[in-house]
Amino acid sequence: MSVKVNDFSIHVATVNGSGSQSSNNVLMRSIFRMGIPVSGKNLFPSNIQGLPTWFTIRVNKDGWAARKAETEILVCMNDQTYVEDVKALKPGSVVLHHEHMSVPALRKDVTSISIPFSKIISEACPDPRLRKLAVNMVYVGVLAEFLGITDEGLELAMAQQFKTKQKVIDLNRAAIVAGRKFAKEHSEVASFPFKVEPMNKTQGKILIEGNAACALGSVFSGCTVVSWYPITPSSSVIDYFTEYAEKYRVDPVSKQKNFAIVQAEDELSAMGMVLGASWMGARAMTSTSGPGISLIAEFTGLGYFAEIPAVVYDIQRVGPSTGLPTRTSQADVLFAAILSHGDTKNICLYPGSVLECYEFAAKAFDTAERFQTPVFVLSDLDIGMNFYMADPFPYLEAPLDRGKVLTDKDTEKLATYGRYADVDGDGIPYRTLPGMKDRRGVFFTRGSGHNEKAAYTESGVEYKNVMDRLLKKWETAKSFVPAPILTGSGKNRIGVIAYGSSNEPMMESIHQLKTEAALEVDYLRIRAYPFSNDVKKFLENHDVIYVVEQNRDAQLLSLIKMEKGYESLLSKTESILHYSGLPLDARYITNHVLELESNKQKKRIA
């Protein structure tokens, strides 16, 4: 039997609240520490304890990090799900399972490795109270032996996971050693069909979740006021912000904080605090998910119309309503773009990697202050809560762009000051901040009709002036937001558009199409709304354009359809949509592209 080296997935089925997260992290990081690219995806329930949860570690020598639909190694720790989990395997897979699970009776075409977990852990762990937590480390030990994971890798991973808690490390090490011992005595160890071999592809790399990257970017971009309401899957943005800010933004002498985090009573209030703080001149943000986006619609309209900066992270989950709170989607794209009643357009950024989660944080604050408007960073559960490998993030050197703010020193500009006047012809007015002494610069902020001088108005002419200037500002934003990125020669017949967390599977799919079907495509990754002219050019230059999205209603394509001057190009677009709540995988895209192409071929022949 041939052995697959550094290219397989391990799917661990456990019960949430059983401590399996630590074991899975140690397993993943131990392989990473051997220089082999890995990624980790957590499929978890909206529950604290007792429901099924799965963790998938993809080991891939080429660094592909998207979800892979097929699993090669299954670890069954959960009685509730093992039957279904085993049934879903492809032939030739390996199953590690409890003794009482009758895997061979279920499938003859998979390799069953029965492990006496209870017996092993009672011997390795004298304290019965700790066995429930430590038992998950046994499969780490078994797999380490079967796959060839080094002790060094495991020790480094444990040191990182458990920091300096020596007793915990000792306990877990004992479980790993016991697992290894069992595997050594197992007859199949020599013929195990999957192996890891040390590489040098992770040297200097980091493993990080998108939410940590968003938080880090915010801490290093001078965000000083954070308000939020707990919601999955965005809460960890705030957890990480708190962790990093407590470490790096506290005055070493006075112990006072150079930031404020306020847990709000709901998302309405969180957004209100962000607008209040931004109005005062602070960099402020909130982090939420779909249900919170619904609640902040009212304040978003105020921010747009009264022109107040705000940064909103939307870690998208599955809606509508409560939906599937622990599953991923890109289904807030349309709503966020036009959030609020009345004519509204909101700047949206779509980070496509953990690095972009970090860099777009900085970009979001700069954009919000430059354009004096709410900016939405549309991440999602897949990119936000799963582990991706990346190069260490570069330090943010660029000075903060605080936008057009007049102070008491700007006496000349204040002489003819109008808060909402378009002085520079770019649609962006000048703002002043509370605390200003010069009365010529003082104004009253309101969400009701206002004229260029910020005075209340019900005049249709004055209202229209403001609304038209906001459109001009929107035009200006097109060249400021991150431009789309083209992959491919640009000369291919087929174009593909994708964005956000679809980037990983999209890149892998391009590779599959090329190597398996000799089909070359050009790929345009959209990174922001409003769209730049590059999007139009891309549509013009291709015969067919597949728009890949993780929602049902082709939401980004809908935004493209709203653009002026695109009408004649729209018949060339076709959607590839994925909305099961699971992260998108490359095979799904590849199969759909090939099927749609083959349909066209058939049509042409017919």
Binding site: V225, R249, N258, M280, F444
Partner: protein, 348 residues
Amino acid sequence: MSVPEARVNPMTTPNKVGLTKKDYGGSPSTLCTGCGHDSITLHIISAFYELNIPPHKVAKLSGIGCSSKTPAYFLSGAHGFNAVHGRMPSVATGAAVANRSMVNIAVSGDGDSASIGMGQFVHIVRRNIPLLYIIENNGVYGLTKGQFSATSDLGSVQKKGDSNHFNPIDLCMLALDLGCDFVGRSFSGDAKQMVPLIESGLSHRGTAVLDVISPCITFNNHEGSTKSYKFVKDNDQAIHEIGFVPSYTPIDVDYDPGTTTVVALPDGAHITLKKIKDHDPTNRKAALDLLHAARESGHFLTGLFYVNPDTVPFHEVIKIAETPLVELSIDKIRPSNASLNEVMESLK
């Protein structure tokens, strides 16, 4: 009482920061002639003038409704923020957190605070954000032409003749229950009581709640209304005579402790409360008992029900920098390259 020492015209006489009372004015009011809210506006102007607070150090915040329009009518030298309906408290919280050097005055109404914004009212009080929160309470939705609000008394009669069937929400009792350290009630027509109450509230270090009955001349000033000028004047029972002695004025040592309670504020000012009704304004439970009894007997009480000058404002609870967050220099808000490297190392 903080009456200027000599009988002078404040409209032309500069205060200690060189500003006349005129400098504390705002745009002309667009409210109905005779609106209680306009009287409150005048009391606010008097209080800021007498407290010598320069307008540019003030943040004015409001929600939506007749009451929430009023910040445009005072202190035009201060930035103001007319937020969305019922959401002023969150905006005020963000503003106060971002810049602790500002004096914050918030104006809201009974619809804004007791209905659509009840949640936000409760939570700003709970957090003890430093600001004076004035509710201009007329028991009616004026801008939408006269519907009952949640503070309308049971049995109070609407202009069209309907009677209110629901119990009123008493924002003072609610604030007391939530742990608010400054709770008072007044009547828009009572300048003598209101100005020192506003001065005291502005000097308070946490959230100061001031519920002011402010009759709606157009929709709630008829026979049968419990928020009409006539009803309030006939039934107003002040629990004490309140005075505010600013920090720069020496406190009269002759106050009789048997009849007058003197509350020393941390900034050196004093609130004097000369007893009319037997009540200890530093006892929260007594304040709640007083209001419960008044509700049962149908009495309308005004005054400073409760004050705790040792209140701990939000900034101190969450330990944010003395320097206003908006004034922090870049090195304070962007950690070093070495710090980033340390984080990166921990992720390898």
